[in-house]
Symmetry: C2
DNA sequence: CCAATTGACATACGCAGCGTATGAACTTAC
DNA sequence: GTAAGTTCATACGCTGCGTATGTCAATTGG
């Protein structure tokens, strides 16, 4: 077995770095993740990181983009199998909450990410979870489900905030199950504020 | 002029440390704030920090508590001069948004704080901004303004999330004025979802 | 098929920054 | 007035990042 093409080797190296970095970031956090440690774990050294990702920050950014792509995919799956647009939207929101409960996502995407890279607006603008939700809101508006005066982007942003904080509260609650139930009730109530009067049940 | 009582000297030292640390954290951020630098700026050394605050984290915690206390006070002022409870609540929410726009608050309280110290639930549980908002929600519920099935804590948490993300979006927008207008509309819509049907206009 | 060149990493070095252990001065208590 | 405790400064070692440099393999051009 001779050597495989170079492009494959590179892709594998990048993949290994992303994997071990993601695990380190997700467990001990960005600040306490030693580059020497998790590169060694991947059988490499820091040199590879500086070459491929420019540095520790670049690596974090790449990890986040990877996770965000996975989240977007999962959310798409959820909203696809709803019977009507509004329910699909609500389901997607709740799925987003559930995902934010996963330790890896919570830590990397929602805590260290904004702290290290700044506001999420910069790195998840195109084709990310936020973009997907924004598109969803726009559709609901066109179909008359929600109020006409609502701006899709602003609305998506706010709902995103609701989801994140709800999730955070649930995650850190001593009784996650009960917290989840209470959050869902309040969440649904808030969302109903968006509906046009003719759509309020 | 002889020596003043020791307790005064200590208080002054603590105050100076808090002040310079707060400035450093608020501008360059927690990670890039060198303890040697901002202690020197206060005419002291790191030794003082480890003695009084236990370390860098402890100092951040103290700074956050100081800011949170100021925020609580300011919010209280706002809601006090409203004509009715619901308007007072809405005003308080919008004031919270505005405060989250201030760079120092945004950076220290909403970004570095959670990243370094973990979830805000731990450090702002008692007598903080969240507690105040929660109390407000409870009152509104008792007075019949908002739905009975809503849990005050969960609701306050979600609204907090709405405020934070709205503020963040406004702050990073290229047109803050326009963004602010769009956020306010969506924010009000969401809040109206909390109202009892008899209170919806 | 063989240089020449580029790319993909590893190695070595320097430096900043944190935490701790130690020490000195000053205060308070008795 | 002395002993004890407090408040800070100083000194030390360690970890961890970034960069500069080196090395080897792979690709390219003739």
């Amino acid at each position: 077995m001779a050597h495989r093409p170079r492009s494959e080797m590179i892709a594998e190296t990048k993949c290994k770095l992303l994997e071990s970095a993601r695990r380190a970031f997700g467990t001990v956090g960005y600040a306490d993740a030693s580059m020497d440690d998790f590169t060694a774990e991947a059988g490499l050294t820091r040199g590879a990181i500086y070459h491929h990702f420019g540095g520790k920050k670049g690596l974090l950014e790449a990890v986040i983009m990877q996770i965000d792509a996975e989240m977007t995919e999962r959310l798409h799956e959820v909203s696809k199998r709803a019977s009507n647009p509004w329910d699909g939207f609500v389901d997607e929101c709740l799925a987003y909450v559930e995902m934010a409960l996963e330790p890896e996502i919570q830590r990397i995407v929602h805590r260290d990410g904004p702290a290290v890279l700044g506001d999420p607006l910069g790195w998840s603008n195109q084709e990310g979870c936020l973009a997907a939700m924004m598109k969803h809101v726009r559709t609901l508006k066109q179909q008359g489900y929600i109020r006409q005066e609502l701006d899709p982007e602003a609305t998506a942003r706010l709902i995103n905030g609701v989801s994140l904080h709800g999730a955070q509260w649930i995650a850190n609650s001593h009784d996650p199950k009960q917290a989840s139930d209470r959050i869902v009730i309040a969440f649904r109530a808030l969302l109903e504020g968006l509906l046009t009067t003719s759509n309020v049940n």
